[in-house]
């Protein structure tokens, strides 16, 4: 068990692939924003890759362990420490009852870190997932971010704790972080020639967009599009703006919604249906990079990707979380 001392900016229980199958009921998949970070944290402590862990966004989380356990921290380097002494990232570490874990703020690269716990987090799944939907206030820990005094229970570890200590990721297996995240994407559902101009689509796939400050777990907002993007003068019965369309379901997670003139990446807790066109979708295997994109600081660039490449990338990701990745 972990007793929260400081919830930090936003610390959530998340798993992967999240709550699938409820888009039509208005429920986003949620799930770990960086599923690769969570996957490695779980691998290191002997859990299945999709087990629930803690997603620490922004930093400043602090908690006291009320039981002995084995943990691993992955993601952005928030200078994690136990009782004030730094602990290594990307490897499993033993903790004792009474130990206090603390995180500083985000590192030079990335925005979120993951705390994997041997056995995972003991919470009843809601509609098939332990993930928190912060936007809808359900799932995870009471549907909210962690607060001081919360007691997060751990499930039984898969193996003896002492055997889980000292597992370390190979250096070459650690994901590469950047300030400019290149996201592979598939055009659609609304592109040129009928909704956008070809020049407009070219712009989307060549411009480097700064991630706006107003981004959150539902939406990553990018810079406004220039004039000439739209192929239509208005949205017809969908509305007066050419980005309007009769309400349709959004390809959540990953769709790039064109909301007025603002491109908005719909991710994690994002809306599942609405009246704006979608110009492209980030492939599932690259969603993790969005979660490490730091609002106000980092940039996003889209690169056209084929279906075959996207499927191969999914298979490659699945194969990341094996013992082969460990030293």
């Amino acid at each position: 068990m972990l007793k929260v001392i400081n919830g930090g900016i936003e610390t959530l229980v998340e798993d992967w692939p999240g709550r699938l199958g409820y888009l039509g009921k208005g429920m986003a998949p949620s799930g770990a924003f960086d599923n690769v970070g969570l996957g490695f944290a779980n691998l290191l402590v002997g859990n299945p890759a999709g087990e629930a862990g803690l997603e620490v966004t922004g930093g400043f989380f602090q908690g006291e362990f009320l039981t002995d356990s084995v943990i691993a921290v992955t993601g952005t380097d928030m200078k994690p420490s136990i009782n004030g002494s730094p602990i290594p990232m990307w490897e499993s570490v033993a903790v004792k009852k009474g130990d206090v874990i603390a995180f500083s703020h985000i590192g030079e690269f990335g925005f979120r870190c993951y705390l994997g716990i041997a056995g995972g987090i003991d919470l009843p799944p809601y509609l098939g997932s332990k993930s928190t939907c912060i936007f809808g206030s359900y799932g995870g820990f009471d549907g909210r971010k962690l607060q001081p005094g919360d007691e997060v229970k751990f499930a039984a570890p898969r193996g003896k704790l002492k055997d889980l200590v000292g597992r370390k990721l190979k250096k070459e297996a650690i994901p590469e972080y950047s300030r400019e995240w290149v996201l592979r994407a598939i055009p659609g559902t609304n592109t040129s020639p009928d909704y956008a101009t070809e020049e407009g689509m070219d712009y989307l796939f060549s411009h480097t967009f700064r991630i706006q400050h107003t981004s959150n777990r539902s939406a990553y907002r990018l810079e406004e599009l220039p004039e000439g993007f739209f192929a239509r003068l208005d949205g017809g019965v969908g509305g007066s703006h050419p980005s309007n369309i009769l309400d349709h379901a959004y390809a959540m997670r990953g769709a790039l919604n064109i909301c007025g003139n603002t491109p908005v990446l719909l991710i994690a807790d994002g809306p599942t249906l609405g009246g704006y066109m979608c110009a492209l979708s980030v492939i599932n295997a690259d969603l993790w990079k969005v979660g490490q994109g730091t609002p106000g600081r980092d940039f996003i660039r889209f690169r056209v990707c084929s279906q075959d490449e996207a499927v191969q990338a999914r298979l490659d990701r699945k194969n990341l979380f094996t013992e082969d990745a460990l030293v």
Binding site: G24, P187, F230, L233, L246, L273, A310, L315
Partner: protein, 351 residues
Amino acid sequence: MRIGRTGHGIRSVVQQTVKGKRHMSQGKYNVILDTLPKTESRLEVLFRQGGDGFIQVEYGREQRAALQDSFRMLAVNDIIHAKKIKGLIETVPGLRTNLLHFDPTVVDVPTLIAEVKDAEESMPSVDDVVLSSRLIHLPLAFEDSETKRAVEKYVKEVRPDAPNVIDGYNLEYIALCNGVSVREAKDMFLGTEWFNSGGGFWPGGAFLWPVDPRCALVVPKYNPPRTWTPEGAAGIGGPCVFTYTTPTGGGYQLFGRTAPTFQFSMKHPIFKDGPFLYRPADRVRFHEVDEDEVLWVHEHVHKETDYEYRIEEGKIVVKDYLAWLDTDEVREGIKEQNARREEGVQKAPRL
């Protein structure tokens, strides 16, 4: 900032696009993977790429809002579900599109499209289009104290001069926009079944459309939106009725309060398989009750968990519906209501 060559304005770009439309299969960013031609019983079907795990099935190229398109699409949707396609995670119907969400490591795109085409072709004529549709009876208290409180809060905290608030409520405004009296507006809410074309906007929510177009009411949404709406609030925005599943903000004009249609805890037996009441293709019929009865229903859904929802199994025979739409009586009624609305729109204040 402008895209493209210097002096290459929006207008010339649009003209090019209109020309290019005839050759939709060409172009650098073509996302239409496949099509099915228009037939007597359906519009052209387009299969649009929407990511590595999504295909959007679109009906027709025109943005049109017609209930019969939704009836047919949902009937096909039932057939798709009955196939139990491996790797298909879910389908998300809108009004004229159906989003297929799948795991591409389990099922590939051509297989999925072939399955949907097969479902489409199994309904070759309009006689074949029959949709299973439950009828849910819901109690409705017009202008109850809880939704009145939400309007009051809006005026106090968000927009003191809101022109859509007349005598502290939205019903008068709804009536005004449609050229009818408040009593007539109420009778229109009560006088038709409201068809759920699908959910997806908010947990458990449904977009409800009037089956009888003579009862169609159209209103603008709040500007700016409300910060609070009670659970069970019944509102209308554009042509759609929405019953609020949880307390939340919102932009629909409020006309009353109904029973809970969602329960996070899944304690009540109707919610034992999921927190949602509505399914796509459900019809809702409201009957007028007083406010105390609605409060009693909420108590007996959430606390006592013994309220008995009245739900009938049923179906929509699309051919019969279209024939009924085409009767003189209905056609005249639609025309009259459209004329009243046109007049009303002129008089109603803009938001």
